[in-house]
Amino acid sequence: MNKLLLTSSQTVGPFFAPALLREDAVRNVLVQPETVGERVRIEGRVLDGDRLPVPDGLVEIWQANAHGRYHHPADSGPATLDPSFVGFGRSGTENEGLYWFETIKPGPVPFDHERWQTPHICVTVFARGLLNHLVTRLYFAGEPANARDPILLSVPEHRRATLLAARQQKGTSVVYLFDIILQGEGETAFFNV
């Protein structure tokens, strides 16, 4: 079959915020009061090859709900949909490279007909200087199923730690810290997807 050539990617540039982070386009808070699941805050910094914060980046996340169901027609269950949870987040990094989300910990989702994927959040990074966006995943440190996750196991062992968000208790809140290092020592493992 003759396939159409894909449209190439170009940098998001430095001036996207009025469009992509306008009040009704930014999505730091993914949860509503009735959303099912353990509340977690995800936060971290986007850092460049000099360990300097990237103050003009954009981070998007995509995740399943607490039952492990994606709000998407390609996920036909059997896990239950949560009508109060889409699972899409979008945050700027304007404050010292810091992004944040208020969300819930996702449930495990299928890998194939037999295996499961450990809870994870898909992360996409856009910035000036990135001609194409970067794709990675956040995993939850200490999750027992991490040890047999087929995707995490495809990441070279010495780089896996870059995908593990560390749990912190801040008062009554659970915070998972996930810095995204674009380049150099501790460079985050990014995926070719």
């Binding site: 396939k3 159409l4 050539l5 894909l6 449209t7 190439s8 990617s9 170009q10 940098t11 998001v12 540039g13 430095p14 001036f15 996207f16 915020a17 009025p18 469009a19 992509l20 090859g49 990237v54 003009d56 995509w62 399943a64 994606y70 709000h71 998407h72 027609p73 390609a74 996920d75 889409v86 899409f88 989702v109 299928p110 890998f111 994927q117 994870h120 898909c122 996409t124 000036r128 200087g129 990135l130 001609l131 194409n132 966006h133 970067l134 794709v135 087929p150 995707i151 495809s154 780089r159 674009l182 380049q183 150099g184 460079e187 985050t188 493992a189 990014f190 995926f191 070719n192 997807v193």
Partner: protein, 244 residues
């Protein structure tokens, strides 16, 4: 653009997508990853995505000449920009959100970090949104953006362009790119445009003037189709070449 260091880390098809490191575009130097991208099988996580669930917009969002809400109209050459969002098999992508942003007719962005002395147009926000219809067609009314200077290299000017953000059916189809206008002498001098590796792929970023879209006594018409990855569990081409 002939003498620049080009990195070999690319996400997706190497004949279409730019490398992360393209030194002529200086901001890539400290932001490009240097380690190989990890090859993984596609899973339900990638074959789903936010596209189908997000679409809330109002009809006036697609009219950038008036959506500043001032009651006034933006200054500049009024243009219609329309086309279809398709996947690589030619299947239209219906009901998907497009977000665009652009400089005004003088080449100035309404952004605190854009400080060059081009005039601001109080009736132009430079941002718009629309959702494709059931045939994958989108349509914006806007003004033609101006070129603008940047500090990448001496006397650097970006060719006129409109930024596009597209969701599509899955995470694989997520795309942020730029649409350019035909016959712009600045294309050959622009390291962002030339970061796209092949002439064929660069041509796909150019809108074409289409007189059948031009409306008499009103606006010039440009056509630009966008082709995104469909939700198919087929690997990117780069994997077939045995990339690490």
């Amino acid at each position: 653009m002939n003498h620049t260091t080009i990195g070999d880390i690319v996400r997706g098809d190497r004949e279409v997508f730019p490398p992360y490191l393209y030194e002529a575009y200086q901001s890539t130097r400290r932001r490009a990853p240097m380690l190989p991208l990890v090859e993984v099988p596609l899973t339900l996580s990638e074959l789903t995505g936010p596209g189908p669930a997000i679409s809330a917009i109002t009809p006036q969002d697609a009219d950038l000449t008036r959506n500043a809400g001032t009651g006034g109209e933006a200054i500049g050459q009024r243009i219609i920009v329309t086309g279809r969002v398709l996947d690589e098999r030619g299947t239209p992508v219906p009901h998907t959100l497009l977000e665009i942003w652009q400089a005004n007719a003088a080449g100035r962005y309404l952004h605190k970090r854009d400080q060059w002395p081009g005039p601001i147009d109080p009736n132009f926000l430079g941002m718009g949104r629309c959702v494709t219809n059931h045939e994958g067609v989108y349509r914006f009314l806007t003004i033609r953006p101006g070129a603008y200077p940047w500090l990448n290299h001496p006397n650097a000017w970006r060719p006129a362009h409109i930024h596009f953000s597209v969701f599509g059916p899955s995470l694989l189809s997520r795309l942020v790119t730029q649409m350019y206008f035909p016959d712009d002498p600045l294309h050959a001098l622009d390291p962002i445009f030339n970061g796209v590796p092949t002439e064929q792929a660069r041509q796909r970023l150019l809108a074409s003037y289409d007189h059948s879209l031009t409306e008499p006594e009103w606006a010039l018409g440009y056509r630009w189709d966008i082709v995104v990855h469909g939700p198919y569990a087929t690997p990117f081409k780069s994997r077939e070449k045995g990339q690490p």
